[in-house]
């Protein structure tokens, strides 16, 4: 075996890539990824795209197909301006959580970069998408293309029928509440059978006529049910409307008294896509850490086996080093913690703890310190955690020292910022907890819930913002979003801030 590995020829020599060379490289990567690392991936579809197409993909949140909206045009114009003036480079690749797993590689990449990118995206990210529990539970990788195609066509059909301005109005409003359009904690109540049938009819019939639109509307359904409980008190109403409800878009879709069925469907599209993208927001560090670890392992393996030349290896390492660079807090380049850097370091650290544990590691990680199957430990971590829980579980004192992490407390009541924890024995646990919290979306994003709406009474939609740690909403934007919300609800909307009862 050893001899056979030594005898391998380099896969390529020189910077130019061809499809034949990429195929060869892909096969070599696949061998290591599947047989050595034991990854489990969706079939890959690797697409070569130009810079302009990369900008296209950028503007549409990386999705291959997207309905049309002015904000995507705005993002495109901005990214293009930044790119043309050289102030922003483009990613080497974009990868989509779908089955088959689509990754876009830039045509400008050298062969060495294409190899690196394939290892990173087509195997690293791909494995993560297929195996992480959040993606498994919340996204439908096989169905996303069909859904995107449906969304695009549906919205185009709506534009044709109701006019682009009317559609834009709904989309603007829905986009404003994108972050409030996901279920964070619980699944939505399953649609009843009659709802499913009616929804299907609406979709099939979106160009065929008004009649279907009359059959089913969420509002009529909602109203019918409300009539049954005509004298229902507050608690019955809450039960009927599933209150409190964290998913505002879902609530509007089901209960808004003014929205037409097609408008509800648009809200649904926006929240479905928000929900589809939500796990990616929750796993930035892990996802990039996993992909970076995989590409790093693979290029080293390829190099050991003599399958890549010294020059190509150096080029890959150069790029890898740039990606995982973490500037310190007082560096002008500092802009937060680099998820690549933290993720990669944590994966490497887990491997180290398995292979070469110190006494400290054994004390902190008794479950896996010294476990000979580091591949299994990593795969298990990739499958069962999200950023917050992953950091809480796996960040070691070793890494805290390496990054020289410290916690700065910013209390508006005090005149100065206070260094509350540093990388010492007393601080490890607290720093780990604080860092984990920085990746908890439920904490980062405002907690706003629908708490009441009396359709029989004043029809005012009541929202409650649970204020934690005294952090309120940005007022300018809040007003703007509420305007959108009023448009969708049709009646007055009130947003109350309530201090959280338990300090977390």
């Amino acid at each position: 075996m050893q001899a056979a590995e030594k005898a391998r020829e380099p896969l390529f020599d020189g910077p130019e890539w061809t499809f034949e060379l990429m195929e060869k490289a892909r096969d070599a990567i696949e061998e290591i990824a599947l047989e050595d690392l034991g990854l489990d991936v969706y079939p890959n579809q690797i697409e070569i795209i130009s810079a302009e197409q990369m900008l296209d993909a950028y503007s549409c949140v990386g999705l291959p197909l997207m309905y049309q909206h002015w904000s995507f045009g705005k993002h495109f114009a901005r990214d293009e301006a930044l790119y043309r003036t050289g102030r922003q480079g483009l990613a080497y690749e974009i990868v989509i959580n779908s089955n088959p797993c689509i990754s876009y590689n830039m045509e400008e990449n050298t062969m060495a970069m294409q190899t690196l990118v394939m290892a990173h995206a087509a195997f690293g990210h791909n494995h993560f998408f297929k195996n992480n529990y959040l993606f498994q539970q919340w996204t439908d990788a096989a169905g996303i293309h069909d859904y995107l195609a449906f969304a695009k066509n549906y919205i185009a059909a709506c534009e044709e029928r109701y006019g682009p301005m009317a559609v834009e109005e709904v989309l603007d409003a829905a986009h404003a509440m994108q972050s409030q359009g996901v279920f964070r904690y619980g699944r939505p109540p399953k649609p009843t059978n009659e709802e499913l049938v009616a929804m299907q009819k609406v979709r099939e019939g979106y160009e065929s006529g008004q009649s279907v639109l009359d059959i089913w509307t969420d509002s009529t359904l909602g109203r019918d049910k409300l009539e049954l409980v005509e004298d229902a008190d507050y608690s019955a109403r809450r039960k009927m409307m599933n209150l409190p409800q964290e998913n505002i878009l879902y609530f509007l879709e089901k209960h808004s008294p003014v929205l037409e069925p097609w408008q509800c469907e648009i809200l649904r599209i926006v929240r479905m896509l928000a929900q589809y993208l939500y796990p990616q927001k929750q796993t930035k560090v892990m996802n990039e850490g996993c992909a970076t670890f995989v590409h790093y392992y693979i290029i080293n393996k390829l190099h050991e086996q003599g399958q890549i030349t010294q020059g190509a290896y150096m080029e890959m390492l150069h790029s890898h080093t740039n990606v995982v660079m973490q500037p310190e807090y007082d560096d002008p380049r500092y802009s937060g913690i680099n998820p690549y850097a933290l993720g990669f370091a944590m994966m490497q650290d887990i491997r180290r703890i398995c292979q070469d544990p110190t006494d400290e590691d054994r004390e902190w990680f008794p479950d896996f310190a010294g476990n000979p199957d580091w591949r299994g430990v990593l795969r298990d971590a990739w499958a069962n955690y999200r950023d917050e829980s992953f950091i809480q579980q796996f960040l070691s004192p070793n890494l805290i020292r390496k990054f020289k992490l410290f916690t700065l407390t910013n209390d508006a009541e005090l005149p100065n910022l206070v260094v509350s924890q540093i990388h010492n024995r007393a601080g490890y646990k607290a720093i780990r907890r604080d860092l984990a919290k920085q990746y908890d979306l439920a904490y980062l994003e405002p907690d706003i819930q629908v708490t009441d709406a009396d359709l029989r009474g004043d029809r005012e939609l009541k929202l409650t913002h649970t204020v934690r740690d005294g952090i309120h909403l940005d007022e300018d934007d809040q007003e703007e979003v509420l305007k959108h919300l009023r448009r969708l609800w049709g009646y007055d909307v009130r947003l109350d801030a309530v201090e959280a009862t338990t300090e977390s």
Partner: protein, 445 residues
């Protein structure tokens, strides 16, 4: 299972729809900036609208995508930062100015905090916005006329035709070939023979062999003469004539004459308005013709052809005699721009003042000399902003206005309008071109 796809050849402009929606949305903001950028521009081609597009920076109002997010101020936050050097627990750091803390930037999604937004408009988009509402592509086809002259084009050779079309070279070449083939005796050989005969005849006494020789010579000469008669120097068979077919020639060159009164009464404001008008006309025509030229004629009581810089910015004093400019235009046309080769456009800006009865002269010049050779002639009168009465009443006006009204009554391709502020320029421009379209449609139906 696994495969590669080359997407590079996919049709471009996947996000074109998004861009159009974005431009529509930002129209107001963009238009404001485009208008500003026009003001500072030269109207000469090249310096006007760059081919690669125009960079605009617009305010983000109306383009905001609001979201619920945490305020960057107040409350209690903890930030974990890398790179501790010498802090120990309990150290205090001055709050960064603005009190935003490190969390601030992250909160504002998509950089929406920026007030301005820069991007590049393509030249097409730039002009589209500049000529907003003009529905340019449609209008261009109908509103601009390319002159057509009937020219002739060579169309080969024929064997029949009029003598003036005789193609000598071809005819002579045929003749030569035929003469060589049929061995037509040359004049030279005939002359030599005749000389020999004359020599012999000149002798007083001839010996019998000489007599015989002479006889033989005479016979040969006779043969030669006969053959030369039979084989003509030029035979009808040799004749070749050029043929010409008539053909329409489209002229895709245009010249725009910018005529402006620069006498003391024309101030900065008036000139700025005039400039915008000229700029629009030039930009508009530049899209229709392969090649456009600008001629700047300024006038006081006498007219001068000048360059753009002088035209707009130099000062001149004197009276006002409008006809001098028209004379000058006529002169330049005669000198340099034959109407059958050039599409001539005239644009005149003035504050409406003219000397004595010169306006009648202007009318005649226009009707008799200029309008017959022009595609279009536009007159804008720049009036005081306070002179609303004039704006609303096309019948009122001074001498020049009244005379031009008569011109308008007689010539379809003459247009006149009053303006008092930049906002008027686009609408009148549209008016100038719209009636014309209607006219053509009527003619067609």
């Amino acid at each position: 299972m696994h495969h590669f796809i080359d997407r590079r050849a996919n049709p471009k402009g996947k996000s074109l729809g998004n861009r159009q929606r974005f431009l529509r949305r930002a129209r107001e903001n963009i238009k404001e900036r485009v208008d500003q950028s026009v003001r500072g521009k030269s109207i000469q081609s090249g310096s006007g609208v760059p081919d690669e597009g125009e960079k605009v920076t617009i305010p983000t109002r109306g383009l905001k995508e609001p979201r619920f997010f945490h305020s960057s101020k107040g409350g209690m936050r903890r930030h974990v930062l890398p790179g501790n050097k010498d802090f120990v627990v309990g150290d205090t750091i001055k709050r960064p100015q603005g009190g935003a803390g490190q969390g601030g930037r992250q909160a504002s999604e998509d950089g929406d905090g920026e007030d301005e937004f820069s991007f590049t408009l393509t030249q097409e988009e730039y002009l589209e916005i500049l000529f907003e509402g003009l529905e340019l592509p449609d209008l261009v086809e109908k509103a601009t006329v390319e002159t057509e002259t009937i020219g002739t084009r060579r169309a080969g050779l024929t064997t029949a035709g009029t003598p003036n079309n005789l193609n000598l070279v071809r005819t002579m070449r045929n003749s030569l070939g035929r003469r060589i083939a049929l061995q037509r005796p040359t004049t030279k050989s005939q002359r030599e023979l005749e000389e020999q005969i004359a020599e012999l005849e000149a002798l007083d006494e001839r010996t019998p062999p000489q007599e015989e020789f002479l006889e033989a010579l005479r016979k040969r000469l006779e043969g030669i003469i006969r053959k030369r008669k039979v084989v003509g120097y030029i035979d009808p068979l040799d004749l070749r004539y050029d043929t010409f077919v008539p053909e329409k020639i489209r002229n895709s060159r245009a010249v725009v004459f910018c005529l402006m009164d620069v006498s003391g009464s024309m101030q900065e404001r008036e000139k700025d308005l005039a400039k915008r008008f000229f700029l629009l006309l030039h930009l508009f025509l530049e899209r229709c013709y392969e090649h456009t030229e600008l001629v700047f004629v300024r006038h006081t009581h006498h007219a001068q052809e000048v360059d753009e810089e002088t035209f707009f910015y130099a000062r001149e004093t004197g009276g006002t005699i409008v006809s001098t400019a028209l004379e000058k235009m006529k002169e330049i046309i005669e000198e340099r721009y034959p109407p059958d080769e050039w599409n001539i456009y005239g644009a005149q800006a003035s504050d409406g003042e003219n000397f004595g009865n010169d306006s009648v002269r202007c009318k005649n010049l226009l009707l008799n000399d200029l309008l017959p050779v022009s595609q279009f002639y536009a007159y804008v009168e720049i009036v005081d902003e306070a002179a609303e009465m004039l704006l609303n009443n096309p019948e009122a006006g001074e001498d020049l206005w009244q005379n031009y009204r008569e011109v308008k009554a007689q010539a379809k391709h003459f247009e006149m309008q009053r303006v008092s502020q930049p906002g008027h320029i686009y609408p009148i421009f549209r008016e100038f071109f719209l009636p014309k379209v209607k006219g053509i449609q009527h003619a067609g139906s």
